[in-house]
């Protein structure tokens, strides 16, 4: 049985097409992927991200516990700031990628839908093993016994607004001055007088917000935002457009750019790995070793000389090599609605990672030439 967010009926009413995503029955599209991606890039899109996991760490050592579990530096993260990091294994490979929110008396972690249970168990096991005075509350789970200790006191839902008109829209229903909330900052506030946590974050490469609130208010908040956003060009956006948008923005998707056999250094996510600080974290020694010894594979962005789309799992080969073994693999590939051409990311040997390097990709039995281009493909104008 697939899990559903409180907005399931709303999606059906909007004519959404639903798919299984990480065990969740989620909208993949409403009007169409291209249209939804354009609405996000030019106006504002609203996304149900209730499938994503959230952990709230409370107790005197909430930040220390997060700092140990995540590759980025949580101790140096100021209150009200958000940072990207990785849950690494002892081998330095990725259990998940995560956004860390430093709140006044607690730390929030936003994790991927498909890894919710594993992440929760991992963090709790690490807290126990290291003896941190902290507890991890699964605030996405209505059955969580510790919910009473969480910031909202109830199970949470999450929606995202993404696109240049996001601030204008959210400001209409929010008590905080959003013009003062910078990128990768969070604040507590109220949306429609409902207590919420609001962050200027997202997964599209656009300006935008992610909003956490009582899951029982899901339909009301969605409906009001949708109605208020009509004159701003709002469109509901499904996972299909979300995937194309995040690929354009060069953002990783767990299971594609990151997995248990891939380190954040190989996925070129060094900005989320605090190797040069003094604090220890799980996986640090392995990552230091890998940095010293060198990587065997590196993630690159590339374009391909065909209209056929290189997709996850397509093998990468030496240029002109018709019969040899693969030297790499495609992580993500899509037709880009913004650039109207194919874009892809994949793992290659470091010697082929420089911009301009050439290799071939095997798309269902046929080889096509590729050239490495800079990541991200899309960068918004500020």
């Amino acid at each position: 049985m697939l899990k559903r967010t409180p907005l399931y009926e709303t999606h059906l009413g909007l004519g959404a097409r639903l798919i299984d995503f990480g065990g969740w029955e989620m909208p993949v599209q409403y009007q169409g992927i291209v249209e939804e991606a354009r609405a996000t890039r030019t106006a504002v899109g609203i996304f149900d991200i209730g499938h994503m996991g959230r952990l709230e760490l409370v107790g005197p050592q909430h930040a220390e516990a997060a700092d140990w579990c995540v590759t980025c530096d949580v101790m140096k993260l100021g209150v009200g700031r958000v940072k990207y990091g990785i849950f690494a294994t002892e081998r330095g490979t990725a259990l998940d990628d995560v956004l860390v929110y430093r709140d006044t008396d607690r730390t929030h972690l936003v994790i991927n839908a498909g890894n919710r249970d594993r992440d929760r168990d991992h963090v709790r096991a690490q807290i126990a093993a290291k003896g941190f005075q902290a507890e991890a509350i699964d605030t996405a789970d209505p059955a969580e016994p510790l919910l009473g200790k969480s910031f909202l006191g109830v199970a949470q839902q999450m929606v995202a607004l993404q696109g240049p008109n996001s601030e204008k829209l959210l400001q209409r229903v929010c008590d905080q001055d959003l013009s003062k909330l910078g990128y990768y900052r969070m604040t507590r506030g109220k949306v429609l007088a409902i207590p919420a946590l609001i962050s200027r974050t997202g997964y599209t490469g656009e300006d935008g917000f992610e909003i956490f609130f009582d899951r029982k208010e899901s339909v009301r908040i969605w409906d009001v935002l949708t109605a208020q956003g009509r004159d701003l060009g709002l469109a509901p956006v499904g996972l299909g457009a979300r995937d194309a948008l995040r690929t354009e923005a060069g953002m990783p998707l767990y299971g594609h750019e990151l997995d248990l056999e891939t380190t954040p250094l190989e996925a070129q996510l060094n900005f989320g790995v605090n190797l040069d600080g003094s604090g220890p974290f799980l996986g640090k020694e392995a990552l230091l070793r890998q940095r010293a010894e060198g990587m065997k594979k590196l993630l690159v962005g590339f374009e391909v000389d065909t209209k056929r789309v290189p997709r996850n799992g397509c093998t990468i080969h030496e240029s002109g090599d018709e019969s040899g073994a693969p030297i790499g693999v495609v992580a993500s590939g899509t037709f880009s609605p913004t650039f109207e051409k194919n874009i892809a990311m994949g793992f290659v040997p470091p010697r082929l990672s420089a911009v301009g390097s050439k290799f071939d990709v095997d798309i269902r039995g046929k080889r096509h030439g590729c050239v490495v281009v800079p990541l991200p493909f899309y960068k918004r104008k500020k």
């Binding site: 097409r17 299909g240 056929r308 789309v309 037709f335 269902r364």
Partner: protein, 131 residues
């Protein structure tokens, strides 16, 4: 859209119009709607051989690639060159200007395995109900 009754349909949502020994084939309105956001059709070439039920072309959407299957066996005699730059033809006129290839039929009796429009309508309703 009411579907043409002078053509036959395959379970995999291709259609075929037979005129003597030459057949024209394409994909149905149901297939176009289900795929959505089409960006490219990788076309076969004239003289390529088709085998009933086997893929002979592929269609790329933003999200995924899908095979297009041969409704009957035969040899391609013409491909729709206009489709390459104008994929909207598939959505606007799937049973007309959105045709994909014409081919010379090699096994005429294979047509017995295909559906008429009424049976295909029911097939589409069943598939839609599954989702």
């Amino acid at each position: 859209m009411s579907r043409p009754t002078d053509i036959k349909y395959a379970k995999t949502h291709e259609w075929v119009r037979i005129e003597k020994d030459i057949a024209t084939t394409g994909i149905s309105d149901f297939a176009v709607a289900a795929l959505s956001d089409l960006v490219y059709v990788d076309m076969p070439q004239v003289t390529d051989l088709l085998e009933q039920g086997q893929p002979y072309a592929e269609v790329e959407s933003v999200k995924a690639v899908s095979d297009i299957y041969a409704p009957l066996s035969g040899e391609i005699v013409e491909v729709n060159e206009e489709l390459g730059d104008n994929l909207e033809l598939l959505a606007k006129d799937p049973f007309g200007k959105g045709w994909i290839v014409k081919f010379r039929i090699s096994h005429p009796n294979e047509v017995e395995g295909l559906m008429d429009a009424a049976a295909y309508d029911r097939h589409c309703k069943d598939e839609a109900a599954k989702h």
